[in-house]
Amino acid sequence: MVTVVVCTAVFLLTAGLLGYAIWRYRARPGNMVAKLRHMHGNPRLEAALIIGVTLLLLTIAIPNIRVLFAASEPPDVENALRVEVVGKQWWWKFSYPSFGVETANELHLPVGRAVVAELRTEDVIHSFWVPKLAGKMDLIPNKINHLWFQADKPGVYYGQCAEFCGSSHANMRLRVIVHTEAAFEDWIKSQQTVAEAPAEASAQEGVRVFQERCTACHTVAGTAANGKIGPNLTHVASRQTLAAGLLPNSPSNLQRWLQNPQAIKPGSLMPNLGLSEAEVNALTAYLQHLK
């Protein structure tokens, strides 16, 4: 804040001085010849300006450096919630090591509790940015970064990747969903349980297609599917969005995605499997079941 106030004040002062000089000393009758007083400079004035500018900068620098050190760690680091954030082209993997829960693109957090995110990438550089919660921090190969923040109000906060990471950099979005403490515990419990095998015939057909075509990349806990390349789909139906925050999670959007992922997210690493309409419908029925 100090920075903005000082910068704005000095800007207005300097711009005002500039404007005044242009107006006051414009060429006009009576001022056709420059007054050559102080023509080559004024050492005292110049020295005063150097000292003045330096002092002004110190008024910005000191509070800024203080904030930098004060904000580098949360006040109560022992009780902070630890989450792991992994960036991949072009989606986010979130996991909670203390609860054994893994999800994608939607980070659920309790209100009023410090969170320490451990940031890693499995391919190129990404940057985790949820503007209303914290500044950004990069995810860099062969390096682990940390970012701490705390949400003080329940709600949904938008974020997205802030470091250019290839074709669909613009489509690597995320949401942070902040719950009350109790609602957060409920959410963790629901994520820890495994969906039962579906009863309807179409969804059962979907299980068959899934186990045949999708398990190399995706995990559904409680089944044989344990692929690690794509997002964990154990509770995919409980998410608000699909494809890293690009589409609202609805059956029709899910079908569009399954039919041609690259049409929605250019360059998406999920291949176009060439699924038949029947297969798409069966898969959709099954995935909708994974609440």
């Binding site: 920075t3 000089a21 400079g41 900068l57």
Partner: protein, 615 residues
Amino acid sequence: MAIAHEVAQPRSRRYWWSRPTHTTGWLGWFTTVDHKRIGILYGITAFAFLIVGGVEALLIRLQLAGPDLHIVGAETYNQLFTMHATTMIFLAVMPMFAAFANYMIPLLIGARDVAFPRLNAFGYFTFLAGGILLNSSWFLGGASNAGWFAYANLTSRQFNPGFGVDFWILGLQILGISSTTGALNFFVTILNMRAPGMAMMRLPIFAWMMLITSVLILLAFPVITIALLLLLLDRMVGTTFFEVASGGMPILWQHLFWVFGHPEVYIIILPGMGVISEILPAFSRKPLFGYPLMVFSGAAIGFLGFTVWSHHMFTTGLGPMANAAFALTTMAIAVPTGIKIFNWIGTLWGGSIRLRVPMLYALGFISMFLIGGFSGIMHAAAAADTQQHDSYFVVAHFHYVMIGGALFALLAGMTYWFPKITGRMMSEARGRRIFWLFFGGFNLTFFPMHFLGLDGMPRRIYTYSAEMGWQFWNLAATIGAFVLAASLLLYIIELCRALRSGAPVGNDPWDARTLEWSTTSPPPVYNFERLPAVSSLDAFWEAKQGADTLSDMPEHEAGMHLPQPSYFPALCTLGILLGAYGLLYSGILAMVGLLLAVFSIYGWAFEGVGQEELV
């Protein structure tokens, strides 16, 4: 009064390897070593690339005009923003300042040409070759899509299999040759070829800023050359400098890139400050306020420019200690920059200010650069910068420096020196209207980007969702971009009109201060009939006031010595260009290119001084 000069008869037979004698026709331009013709070549080529980069910018703005548009695809968009930045920095703004430096520095310091005329031609041709190589990638499988900053490991073969990044690397290496030879040439020219009596503290301020810029280029470009070489080896030979799987460190690229990349900002802005510092005194009818401090603050900016690179990396997790150090060095740059701004105001103070078109651009420079400067100080606050970094706030900031600073200065310089270069005047009335259109279009394009950035819009995204609420200011910026483009087009049209039918002018239409205004417009091929000798800063101005500060040197007994044209700078460049294509497509072509380059270097070394001289 023209003095008699004639071309002497050839003293001996001409052979096929004799130096060319063409002074007209396309072969004359191809073999010229005249700093003024090379300056014009630089200027025209850079303007052409400015149009290319501008069209790329308009496509970018069209794609972002509304949410979820599909005017260009994601992949094309990524190539467009990569090439827009690369083109504007390396092919438009830098060579335009090189154009002014080429044309003006020998005139400003009272010399007949630069120190190394053939190296000067070579610098132009390698600039042209680098531009051709870079832009040909559009038609040969796609341009680089990794951004002008090309962060590893997105540039690895694994994540970027096409040739785009290779074209970009080789193009930049060739442009590096151009910049380095150019800088070397200006450095030696300014130090060694000043008119008698022109001590360093009597050097025109534009020449001083080009001297400092040359030092920055000579120190910064080797770093990017090495970084590009490491990347090229990773991609072509399989080394692992930035390969993650083998333990390489992608973060190393960022350090190398910004050790070059931040001084590069000053390489672009210091010549602009020099141009402004020539124009303000001329149109205020007062000497530059605090000339020594202007010189030293330029040098201080250049020096400090090498100490701040990690402020581009505040979000990479360097830790609070490193961030604090780089925040402090960055803020320190505000001191010499502030001094410059106050001294410019001091130059206006007490003057008699004529608001002619060059002066309008110069005053536009100061006011727009103020905005860019203050948003820069806001970035220096490392904690706040984690929000602003890689957002549209940064896009706004650096366009206020690159356009609000550099391009305003270029248009100021262009309008100021146009009568000297062509002997004709651009229209004052049309110039004013174009200036205000340019000024308005620029601010309409880039001021809203401050709001977009503070509202959380990241850079380098080809699309955004309507629910983010970014469409209003994006549409405003797109409209502004077309106004800006229209004003530049009108400027070019007026330039062409004035070239054919502008009002003829004498030697010194602005009643200006420096030596180039003492010779004819346009200057003769030998620049000055008799070389000047000076005994003060602003010697020409003071002489016009009746002081005894400017005199003519006696004629040299051997007459004027002018450098002779040569085939070899262009031939050597052709070899380098063929070699670069050969590296990508064919070993045989690479060998041919290499042999041609080596042959040209030998030819260059042994062709002799030529058989004719102006006497």
